[in-house]
Symmetry: C2
């Protein structure tokens, strides 16, 4: 038993369950086997596609946003739908340039709320230097939606120096994380359930394209990037590790969790490693690039820290070393403890 | 009174109503004023954005699909989500190349149905020469969706010879329609309501990018293209006419309607001019290009016919001349007699 997550037995599922959208193993198998028709089977499904258009390379990605509530501490569905898609582009080494906006509205949704959300979306787009150039609206009957769902597809220019992807990960690479984990999921959950903790938790939702672009401009050699949304840090790293068939070793003490997030996770029986982020990512890069990467991150307000290393040999999996020298395997998220966080 | 459609009084709407998604005036004001933040106010909202990428021009567009039922005579939500988006690209003079696929699934949706839909989507993509390169799934609780909603954004290469847009329409241009109207809307409606007519009506849902590309390759000078989806032929032409402030004059006898569609429309109190199509478009072009356009259309199985002409002067509006010499103004669709047809 390698402990990296037991298969959930996808074949048993005849109906869609919440976990199919939760960012764990079941969602990835659904995207690979059903959406992409098995063509990508075995490959690591990356955040976006990189396409050659003659005058350079563009990245292209899509994300639908169904977050509830629509407004939460630190953001709303509007800015999230720009940052989330922009961050997928950033993970390809691209800077968002053009965005689409497809909204599915439920009858009865207040126009004033829609206007606030769209204003937030446009403001976030301006902030990342992108334009919303095409849009579509559909309206569904009451009880067939949940106020508003937004799809944002995005196109961005890939940095000329970027060659980023799981296949570039090599033994000895270091793994950098850009801040504390779990704030987005907990912020959503507390807003949704009306929970109160001593210190309110703000979502970490933010643009990542600026810091990634700055690293590329500074000549940082980035092997692979992964934003840590649904399924959290654990799922992102396990998927990468399995995809490249190399062991990742993490130092538990390096991974920072806000005390309020820790309290909330303890109370709710959640592991912060599985809780979603919307402004956190890992960079896998050669040791020689770490110093400049951390310098660029710090200059842009990101608390970057080396959390681990890619091992020299398998088996694939993510091992977490505690401060006491004990070790455990990190598992990909299974089930859906926190649905609809993005 | 110019008769081109009385304003619905958008300001009165504080909540989203079905008509906001129906393809008429209310939807267009919502997209312009709220989604695009008024920046496109006064401009004709075209089907997609044309973007210069150095090595050529790409078109970029998005559409969400909420059609019910998911399977209908002549198609399903899967192929529709490829053709619909591909047709928006075609209306920019582009051939679809890369597609995204974002699905919003309701818990409990049968995986087998999802597989059938995705197979239809991939097959349609292959048929138009496009690849689905990026995807996303979200799952919402029962009662917060309707089985499946699909968003398909698309990128296509614009033909080097294409300069297509409302601003190119000039007095004297002719207007070509590529077939009979109203079949898609009636096919959906009969499938949804379980209605039976003597002759079943098949949706006209089809790819249009092939015939448009062939016209461009044949050197046909296309001034403007418009696919006739939500709101039908009437809404598409009224919007164009108002956008360019020129009168369009149509010959009623040239516009063909299948007898079964006509019967259904009579029974249901619908005007075929307002009923949605998913494989019909108008081309506005100079008289000198008409013959070759019709030849290319015929070679690809499209029953192209000249239905009218752009007048030399205003006021803007679409006039329909009957065979008896009487005239009436064509109005943009108001209300939402046929919701969720795409």
């Amino acid at each position: 038993m390698n402990g990296t997550g037991c298969p959930i037995g996808e074949a048993r599922y005849r109906e869609i369950v919440s976990a199919h959208g939760a960012g764990g193993r079941l969602m990835h198998s659904l995207i690979r086997d059903v959406l992409l028709g098995g063509e990508a089977r075995g490959a690591v499904v990356h955040d976006g596609a990189v396409l050659d258009v003659g005058g350079g390379r563009i990245a292209f990605t899509t994300d639908s946003y169904t977050v509830t509530p629509l407004f939460f501490p630190g953001g709303d569905i509007g800015c999230l739908s720009v940052w989330g898609t922009g961050n997928d582009l950033a993970m390809c080494g691209a800077r968002p340039r053009w965005l689409s906006c497809g909204v599915i509205l439920e009858e009865g949704f207040p126009v004033e709320i829609l206007e606030r959300i769209m204003a937030s979306m446009r403001s976030a787009a301006e902030g990342v230097g992108a334009e919303i150039v095409t849009g579509d609206t559909k309206v569904v009957e009451r009880g067939k939606g949940d106020g508003i769902y937004i799809n944002t597809a995005g196109i961005g220019w890939v940095h000329p120096a970027a060659t980023i992807g799981p296949n570039r990960i090599v033994p000895g690479d270091l793994i950098i994380l850009n801040g504390d984990i779990g704030r987005h999921g907990i912020a959503i959950l507390t807003a949704r359930e009306g929970l109160e903790f001593e210190h309110g938790v703000l979502s970490d939702a933010a643009d990542l394209s600026d810091v990634v672009w700055a690293m590329l401009e500074a000549g940082v050699e980035l092997h692979c990037l992964r934003d840590l949304t649904r399924g959290g840090l654990a799922s992102g790293l396990v998927e990468l590790s399995e995809g490249v068939d190399l062991e990742f070793r993490l130092k538990c003490g390096r991974i920072s969790v806000d005390p309020a997030v820790e309290t909330a996770c303890d109370l709710l029986g959640l592991d912060p490693m599985h809780v979603a982020n919307e402004g956190r990512f890992v960079a896998v890069l050669p040791e020689g690039s770490v110093e400049s990467a951390l310098r660029v991150m710090a200059g842009r307000g990101h608390a970057g820290v080396v959390i681990g290393r890619v091992g020299a040999e398998g088996p694939a999996g993510v091992r977490l070393e505690t401060e006491y020298g004990t070790e455990s395997w990190v598992r990909m998220l299974s089930g859906a403890p926190l649905p609809r966080i993005c």
